[in-house]
Subunit: 436 residues, 2 copies
């Protein structure tokens, strides 16, 4: 791996300005397409475009699909439809080619498809564009096997057999076993071959590939006819993207951002949760305002504790549900069983934390009445937050909304406010009992 830093970018930009084409070309020929793409991502568009045009046609295609979306759009907007069709798309598999075409302005996309020399590729791209985003169909490539025109028949048959085997599980292939001896059909039966419908969600495709250790997953239509295949490299990309998105949602970040993005982009991605937090905070102020805080000012002391614990428990519960849904350990049919289990966890955690806080507050002389209020309220808050944190993502999932949304701002804010309500209700009750 090459170390990509500001000095390297500066050096390259200098060479581009000096027009040292052959040196740049020979330097680039030693690099992997992924590294070249990262270098181009960090260059100004004009320099990136110059360097890109120096690359070999087959490298160009690989680099293009590895670029950040913004920089790819920049480079493509500077190329004619004919250049894109001949110089880049011709080298790509139908899935990657479709991704590129889908990012072009509609008119230019049509022009590019019209310029493709290979009619089959053009029709493959049109087919793939028709699948809705997020389905297995939109993720697959149409090429089941790739045979080149100059091959002999023997060579072609051998390649077809080899590539068909790729559609079976990796383990099976690497272990060798009987694979080359048996017929593909037998192998498929023996292996209990796994397929996916083109209409099914792409998450299911990656789940199946992960679960059954597949390097390639055949995609079929409703008549079980093979229409394409999804390969493990695409599945890995999608697994990582999903994990990053869930992680960012859980951390209150609303857009897909990277540390290298601009201050404005980073601020914008973080503002939505902060605004929800502000609304929650003002709601909290009203809850406290309903209560006569002047007369019972010592109640203020444990506001942070109650608010924090409600939020924490809610996030924990929601995270366990989100992971369970992702790995298919949970489905919404066993809602009641999940909730009763969570009730058990909530009661147990609530009792432990409640008893600890009762002992500590009594020991630290916060007064009997306040100590009982805090510990009783904490027990109730933990139980409520556990149930609510479980219920919300399950409901979102049932109504086809991403349950990971529940792990971020929503659960924390609602639990903050309801936690305060419980705290002051218990407080009023206890002081009423003591005064009465």
């Amino acid at each position: 791996m090459i170390d990509i830093n500001k000095d390297l970018i500066q050096l390259l930009t200098d060479r581009i300005e000096a027009g040292q084409d052959s040196e740049l070309r020979s330097w680039a020929s030693d690099l992997h397409a992924t590294d070249l793409a990262e270098i181009l991502d960090q260059m100004r568009t004009d320099a990136a475009s110059y360097l890109f045009r120096l690359l070999d046609t087959d490298v160009k295609a690989d680099v293009l699909i590895e670029l950040d979306e913004d920089q790819r759009a920049n480079l493509l907007s500077g190329m004619t439809a004919e250049e894109i069709a001949g110089g880049v798309l011709g080298q790509l598999d139908s899935d990657d080619a479709t991704d590129v075409v889908a990012e072009l302005p509609p008119n230019k996309a049509e022009e590019v498809i019209g310029h493709l020399e290979n009619d089959e590729q053009a029709s493959d791209i049109r087919d793939l564009l028709a699948y809705a985003e997020g389905t297995a169909g939109a993720m697959m490539a149409k090429e089941l096997v790739k045979v080149q025109s100059e091959w002999t028949v023997t060579r072609a048959i051998r390649e077809i057999r080899r590539q068909a085997e790729e559609l079976l599980s990796m383990k099976h292939l690497l272990l060798g076993a009987e694979s080359t001896r048996s017929k593909i059909a037998e192998l498929q039966k023996e292996e209990g071959i796994v397929t996916i419908l083109a209409q099914e969600p792409s998450e299911k495709a990656t789940m199946l590939m992960e679960r059954y250790d597949l390097v390639a997953l055949p995609v079929v239509d409703s008549e079980q006819k093979l229409v394409g295949r999804i390969t493990i490299d695409d599945a890995v990309d999608s697994i990582i993207e999903d994990a990053e998105r869930d992680y960012q949602l859980a951390s209150g970040i609303s857009e897909d951002v990277e540390s290298s993005d601009s201050v404005i982009t980073l601020t914008r991605a973080r503002l939505p949760w902060l605004l929800i937090g502000l609304i929650g905070g003002i709601g909290g102020a009203y809850v406290i305002g309903w209560f006569d805080i002047k007369e019972n000012a010592e109640m203020a002391l444990f506001i942070p504790l109650i608010a924090a614990m409600g939020g924490n428990v809610g996030v924990q519960s929601a995270a366990i549900v989100v992971q369970g849904l992702a790995s298919s350990h949970i489905n919404t049919n066993n809602l009641l069983r999940r909730l009763s289990k969570e009730l058990g966890v909530g009661i147990l955690n609530g009792l432990i934390c409640g008893l600890i806080i009762l002992g500590v507050t009594l020991l630290l002389n916060f007064g009997t009445s306040l100590s009982i209020t805090v510990s009783l309220a904490l027990l109730c808050v933990i139980i409520f937050a556990a149930l609510f944190g479980t219920f919300v993502p399950l409901m979102l999932h049932r109504y086809k909304i991403d349950p990971a949304l529940a792990t971020g701002p929503f659960i924390t804010t609602v639990n903050d406010i309801i936690g305060l309500m419980i705290y002051f209700a218990v407080g009023s009750l206890i002081s009423g009992l003591i005064l009465g």
Copy 2:
């Protein structure tokens, strides 16, 4: 995929008790090893052990490595060393076999290795056991290619060539290109083949495989001699495990748990963050206690807002650093650049949120002095939390501690307390200015 539920487990348990061996055997023969493993995971140990013994030897091996660690330990403890060596390990690749041996009690592990018929396998396992956990060496398999004794020479040569090609990139193979025509050495050069040292961390191995779309990664020793290979299925498992762990840490869950774990396990995994939250809450009570809250009871109203916002901003900042470190976009050398960027984001978010809250509190008649206090404190809290949330994970990373630890309890709790300190300090200052 088969639907694995309580009814199915009950049905199978009934059949096991009725001794319907041949029916069970034929039913199991249609299932994938992963599904069988999940079924065994959900059965009582005695039933699971019975069903396991009905399986074919090669299926047994595949099922065993897919089992949960607990159930695998249960089944293995009921088998003799000879049964493990002959009936299971013989069918496994050296990496999987080593994982199984590593989980056995030390004496039994020695017995099992002693019973292995294949001396090369025994020495492979001993070699692999010597690599420290978390290194590429501990993740790899020793078999570069697998050739079976009954094969003809032609067949073996064809297999070796095919399997060697698996060590090159997937894309290259699937595209066909010149692969079968050129010699492996040329291919490696052409492809700029990527390798990893056995001593390097396993995270680097998965990062390289992800980055360069590899299906297999050659592992070399310090003299660049090939010692093993890591395959994509293991890398995918490790990517998912890492993502789940980071996610759980960010959500305040301290052990690797699943929704199907027992109430006790789930409670235990969640208690550590709750206890840290309790300590933070008591700390918060003291901070509020220092201030004369009785005289300025209206200050209590915005305690939830200040505490929540400090925690939120801190978690966001830490999450961006953790993801940046994971994808190597950040290193600790550009600490100052990161912090100054974060200062920009903090000031921008702080100004936006501060101005909004100033307007809203004035509009809602919370009083000039309180409104100014809240908005000024919020600006300071957001800036501090952003810097602190960035600094802590970078420091943890520099001292080789997992930075993801910073996204959970620690940042939230510290930011809660320091947020309250800032709030009451600003409050004292403002009321001092107004009174003065």
